[in-house]
């Protein structure tokens, strides 16, 4: 068993929906629901799913930007309760994040050398060679020393994302959480940023939690992929197996929905998923996917399927694959 850098056990997150003059709680919106997951040291783990499935909430819980309402998390073997008693920077020395929007995530008033340099200062790593370390980091992400004195607005979206990656990695964290880091970029730029993340991950022996809705992109890039639906993980499998080996009916529907770049294979022949993802407040008994599932049977509308290892390294939460 490989060492896990990040472990989640039964992690849940619900939000109160308030209404009325007294702002009383009307109902609870369950956004994450009993997530179990271990991310191995040095792997690229992809988290996939459609809008509202909970993947961004999961990232925010991992980053301690949101407190979970159930379950517990461990980073580098240390419980989040224990991390909370330590200085914040000790935690963020271990884990850093890259956000989706490179236009919003960089301070527009700071030059690049300060954006990077502040990270070193905060973490007590700023020796006399601050500028040299910033230069070296910038060069590693494909920019140059000349860029140190520029402001974020002088860069393209792809270049800004490179700066965001440099900022996250300059303190050498062990885990990088990247939430849709390329979905705001043009296709050609997307591939280059993904390649850069891959290079940095290998060079620095980094662990990467890569969140995306683009299954094709992920299958080439991720060692393992977990697919979420309605706040739960429904399938985890090796990345390169996803397209051929995805077995959960939702994952198959998701795969069937991806447009195929070959006009001879038009979707008209493929079965598509009906309906839409449930609203977060909808309490669906049993399997959350059963109202849309073409293969539902007796247990699905009242028994919740557990995530089980159906084959080595391949986990599925579906009654079709439960031991009978």
């Amino acid at each position: 068993m490989r060492e896990s850098i990040l472990q989640l056990r039964g992690v849940g997150k619900s939000f109160a929906e308030r209404g009325g003059v007294l702002r009383r709680e009307q109902r609870r919106l369950q956004v994450l629901d009993g997530v179990d997951l271990a991310i191995h040291s040095g792997e690229v783990f992809g988290l996939a799913g459609e809008s509202g499935c909970g993947k961004t909430t999961l990232a925010r819980v991992v980053m301690r930007l949101l407190a979970p309402t159930a379950g517990d998390l461990r980073l580098a073997g240390i419980d989040y309760g224990e991390w909370a008693r330590r200085p914040r920077r000790a935690f963020y020395r271990q884990v850093q994040m890259v956000f989706q929007d490179p236009y919003a995530s960089l301070n527009p008033r700071l030059r690049v050398h300060r954006i990077l340099g502040e990270m070193l200062t905060i973490h007590g790593l700023a020796n006399g060679d601050r500028r040299r370390r910033c230069t070296r980091m910038l060069e590693q992400v494909g920019l140059t020393a000349d860029d140190l004195d520029k402001f974020p607005h002088e860069f393209s979206g792809g270049q800004r994302q490179r700066i965001a990656i440099a900022r996250a990695l300059i303190i050498r964290p062990r885990l990088l959480v990247a939430d849709e880091p390329v979905s705001a970029l043009d296709l050609a730029v997307q591939q280059r940023i993904v390649d850069l993340l891959g290079t940095m991950q290998r060079k620095l022996a980094l662990t990467l939690l890569f969140i995306s809705h683009d299954l094709h992109l992920m299958t080439e890039f991720c060692d393992r992929i977990g697919v979420m639906y309605a706040g739960r993980l429904v399938e985890i499998l090796p990345g390169r197996r996803l397209i051929e080996g995805g077995r959960h009916p939702y994952v198959q529907g998701l795969l069937n929905s991806i447009p195929i770049a070959d006009p001879r294979q038009r979707a008209a022949k493929r079965p598509l998923l009906e309906g839409e993802v449930p609203a977060p407040g909808a309490h669906i008994p049993g399997c959350a996917f059963h109202p849309r599932c073409p293969q539902r049977f007796a247990p699905c509308d009242h028994l919740r399927p557990e995530l089980i290892e159906a084959a080595p390294g391949h986990w599925i939460a579906c009654h079709l694959f439960s031991a009978t």
């Binding site: 809008s51 043009d186 991806i258 447009p259 006009p263 998923l273 309906g275």
Partner: protein, 272 residues
């Protein structure tokens, strides 16, 4: 009119915008034909001029930034470029309808979607309010909105992104247009909803024998919906071909480059 005669024909369309640093040549001589009952895809990177072409057809370009427009957009013997605003209103929405990427900005947040679509039906077809609402419900059913009668009473914010796009499509269909222009209609949607909307648009185009001008930067989406494809680069159409020919025997270097960038095709991946 015979089937091969174009419903809409763009001839040598040139458009200049006022930019911050002087005039910009946005379109540099675009030629494009749209036949009845076919789906033409207009593909290209952002800034290539796809949306400006659509807006020119619809007469939606404003001065400024519009500086100069020349060429012709021929529809039923008249030129949309030189048509008066009043005449254009007779064509736009009635004969040529359109849907955009973000349906929320095209819907009025303070009226129910039923009121908004009924208003269009009353305006264009002179129906009474009750029959207009009945017609709206029929249209909602046609675009696959579940429980169409009840949907009429929903405000836009009560609907999901996919449902809002279905409402937009219903509104576009409300006057039985000959031409439907769809500008990135699925780009903001999740992949399962995108697949549903693409299938819906294709079915409606075939059933109603509309011409569909479909604009997107995503060639995978084009492969699912277009019969013919025009590739735009820097204000020009650099290649135009049937969809299979374009995917399997691209002629222009830019088309080939676009094809290698498609995720999951294996090509174009730079291995460090």
């Amino acid at each position: 009119m015979t089937a091969s005669e174009p419903l809409l024909e763009i001839r040598d369309l040139k458009i200049r915008f006022q930019g911050e640093a002087g005039p910009l040549n946005i379109l540099q001589g675009v030629d494009l034909k749209l036949l009845a009952g076919e789906t033409v895809g207009l593909v290209g990177a952002s800034g290539s001029g796809k949306s400006v072409t659509a807006q020119a057809i619809l007469g939606l370009l404003k001065r400024p930034p519009l500086l100069e427009i020349s060429g012709q957009i021929l529809y039923e013997g008249s030129d949309l470029v030189t048509m008066s605003a009043g005449q254009l209103r007779q064509v736009r929405g009635r004969r040529i309808a359109y849907i955009f990427q973000e349906p929320m900005s095209a819907l009025n947040p303070v009226f129910t979607v039923g009121e908004q679509i009924a208003e269009m039906v009353v305006l264009h077809e002179g129906l009474g309010r009750r029959s207009a609402l009945n017609r709206a419900a029929d249209l909602f059913a046609e675009v696959g909105l579940p429980d169409p009668r009840r949907r009429l009473n929903n405000y836009p914010h009560e609907l999901s992104g996919g449902q809002r796009q279905r409402v937009m499509i219903a509104m576009a269909l409300s006057c039985s247009p000959q031409i439907l222009i769809a500008d990135e209609p699925t780009t903001a949607l999740d992949v399962t909803i995108q697949a549903q909307i693409l299938r819906l648009l294709k079915r409606l185009q075939v059933e109603r024998r509309m011409a569909l001008l479909f604009i997107t930067h995503d060639l995978r989406v084009m492969a699912e919906i277009a019969d013919r494809l025009a590739v735009m680069q820097a204000g020009r159409i650099v290649e135009e071909a049937g969809i299979e020919a374009l995917f399997h025997a691209p002629q222009h270097a830019y088309t080939r480059q676009l094809l290698t960038l498609i995720p999951g095709r294996g090509g174009g991946r730079v291995v460090p």
